[in-house]
């Protein structure tokens, strides 16, 4: 059960901006509050995709772990999302996620969320449009990152 204060914070989350009240009620019924301590691994690469998170406070790094080395490729924080792939079937986690500070978030079970999207298409359309915005933004940022604009070649790669 989500406390009233968290519901108010969640309604202001950019992912849910403009959400009709009945759809918010439906989401609230599936949501639960989670917290992570600093430096806690939230999920690892290849873990079965499980939860989708809306971050209320704190910072999380998305990482690639290699033998003897961890590369941080993205940070997400307040007002952002983590684990969008959990809404897709048969996709395990592509990266590792770790909290860099104390994190407060609201989590949704990806399987349940997807099932509800299929059952209630108005709800599903809203959620999928927002997920698409997140994915598009991440893709754009990744392409920009790939340009390596700060190298001595100045983005000429």
């Amino acid at each position: 059960m989500i406390p009233a204060g968290v519901r108010t914070s969640l309604a202001k989350h950019p992912f849910l901006e403009g959400i009709p009240e009945p759809l918010l009620d439906k989401l609230m019924g599936m949501a639960f509050e989670v917290t992570f301590e600093p430096d806690q691994v939230i999920f690892r690469e290849a873990d079965p995709s499980s939860f989708f998170y809306l971050i209320l406070s704190g910072t999380i790094s998305v990482e690639i772990a290699m033998p003897g080395r961890v590369l941080r490729i993205q940070t997400v924080g307040e007002g952002e999302e983590l684990g969008w792939s959990s809404i897709m079937e048969k996709v395990n986690k592509q990266f590792q996620a770790r909290s860099l500070s104390a994190v407060k978030a609201v989590a949704f079970d990806g399987v349940r969320l997807k099932a509800e999207c299929e059952r209630d298409t108005d709800f599903g359309y809203f959620v999928m449009c927002r997920i698409l915005e997140v994915v598009a933004e991440r893709l754009r940022a990744t392409r920009f990152q790939m340009l390596d604009v700060y190298s001595s070649r100045g983005g000429a790669a």
């Binding site: 007002g79 940022a141 990152q145 390596d148 700060y150």
Partner: protein, 285 residues
Amino acid sequence: MTAGEPATLIAAPPGIMEPLPAQVLSVDKETHDTFTLRMEQPPGMAGFRPGQFSMLYVFGVGELPISISGDPEHPGELTYTVRSVGPVTYQLVTRQQGESAGIRGPFGTSWPMAECRGKNVLLIAGGIGLAPLRPAIYHILRHRGDFNRLVILYGARSPKDVLYKKELAAWNLLPDTQVLTTVDYGGVSWRGYVGVVTTLFKFIRLLPSETATILCGPEIMMRYAIRDLTARGFDERQIWLSMERNMRCAVGFCGHCQLGPYFACKDGPVFNFPQVKPYMDLYEL
């Protein structure tokens, strides 16, 4: 001039057409490939305004445009932050204290400090682009009461490429000042943001209508950043950027740095965005 009247030669001020020798006062390592040189200001050379550049000449090797990165109100010396990427820059960063190099300048237009007064100032820097912005930061901090909130967003390739680490940390502790640094890729010891500089926009709380924005960095970064800023309601006319093209003569004679109707060396490097907007996406330029 009328027919028969003798031509009059107008002498250029010292240090404009020919380099003046100047002693290196110190060379400090900023990162693995970037160094800051403090040099004496040659006698007779004019002071500089934030955003201007000099031509630095290593005798017998070559000459390059380098932005001035020091405090404009610290007379008697000129500071340059140089990334070693070729023969001239290598020679510059390996100078020893007391050795000399030639300086011409200062050249070009400057950051619009007068237009920024009374407003929030958003500075967006990428890579070595933080260096030309540092004089503007010094100016704002020296005249703090003239400006509202100062926000500095800085993007670098990796944690080891972040310039002026101590100053960034110190500026972030100042009242009404916010400094956010992000890197494209970080290791486990990096506790800051990871992602391109535009991903920091969501963390700033500035009213677009009351904000002047200044950008310096790779052109492609500035293009993406301006696209995001205007989508968030920032006024194009309140955006200034530095377009550093292939400056050679620095006085608008040679034409190497031509950008549409402008020469970046004398009409720039600092432009108001609407001036250069039509030329930023052209492959041929």
